[in-house]
């Protein structure tokens, strides 16, 4: 069982990071979007290894499904030509940016690898829809309702911003 978890973890971890590299490195944004979808699926696998069934399902439905379809829709709607995409320039700002990103990552990773591995047995219903649902409609009711208002505001805002003339 532990061995299976370890093998799955490494497969999903490598796929997730490789998808992330694809997003940053892909010349064509459509290829980047597709590799981001792959990264999201691998992340859903990692969530399952963390006993987060509900969030893993949401990851596939909301992120890999809805959000990425929206991204691809906009990419194809704009239909950018290679000239509009521009050629990658390597200015000072980019080098500084890359160094900053590498520095932050190295600092965080060097702190994290020192953490001890601790076995913490979870309850049998940990992360199920029922357990998380009880929490969302109990302790987090106000935040949950506020989220619905946020989504409504986002819908109205998106229409107002993108439509131009109403």
């Amino acid at each position: 069982m532990q061995g299976t978890v370890a093998v799955l973890f490494w497969i999903f971890a490598v796929l997730a990071v490789a998808g992330g590299v694809g997003v940053v490195a892909a010349k064509n944004p459509v290829h980047g979007a597709m590799s981001l979808v792959g990264s999201f699926f691998a992340l859903a696998g990692l969530y399952l290894l963390l006993d987060a069934q509900l969030i893993a399902a949401l990851q596939v439905i909301v992120y890999a499904g809805a959000v990425m379809v929206l991204f691809l829709f906009v990419l194809m709607l704009l239909n950018l030509t290679p000239a509009e995409l521009g050629s990658p320039r390597f200015g000072v700002g980019k080098v500084v940016g890359a160094l900053c990103a590498a520095g932050v990552t190295a600092l965080v990773v060097s702190t994290l690898v020192a953490l001890p591995v601790r076995a913490t047995p979870a309850a049998t219903d940990f992360g199920t829809v029922a357990a998380v649902g009880r929490l969302l409609y109990g302790k987090f009711t106000l935040a949950f309702e506020a989220t619905s208002v946020l989504l409504l505001a986002a819908i109205v805002g998106a229409v107002v911003v993108a439509k131009g003339k109403i």
């Binding site: 990071v17 980047g32 963390l50 704009l78 995409l85 990103a101 932050v104 990552t105 994290l112 690898v113």
Partner: protein, 104 residues
């Protein structure tokens, strides 16, 4: 044995890649995708600490936060993409170096 540090290091690498994308890429859509990557790294951190807490028993609070992060990310993506469409319509470019109307 696979524990919290493994997941946290993956999350840190994904966050670093997202940060790199935001700082280096100039296409507004790729910048948005990199932000999504960073939000997912934060989610992975929440879920890793929910399952493997530093002390005490596993708690589901991290799952609730991850749920809200997904909702906020969906809202952010819809409004952000609307802004991209509006910017492309008025300027014919989504290069973030050329969108500097708010700077001057």
């Amino acid at each position: 044995m696979i524990g919290a540090p493994h997941f946290l290091v993956v999350a840190a690498l994904l966050f670093g890649l997202g940060l790199l994308g935001v700082l280096v890429r100039r296409n507004a859509l790729v910048v948005f995708m990199s932000i999504e990557l960073m939000l997912n790294a934060a989610n992975l951190t929440f879920l890793a600490f929910a399952r493997f807490p530093v002390r005490g028993r596993p708690s589901l609070d991290g799952h609730a936060i991850a749920f809200f992060v997904v909702a906020v990310a969906a809202a952010e993506a819809s409004v952000g993409l609307a802004v991209v469409i509006a910017a492309f319509r008025s300027r014919g470019s989504i290069n973030v170096d050329e969108l500097r109307a708010l700077r001057n």
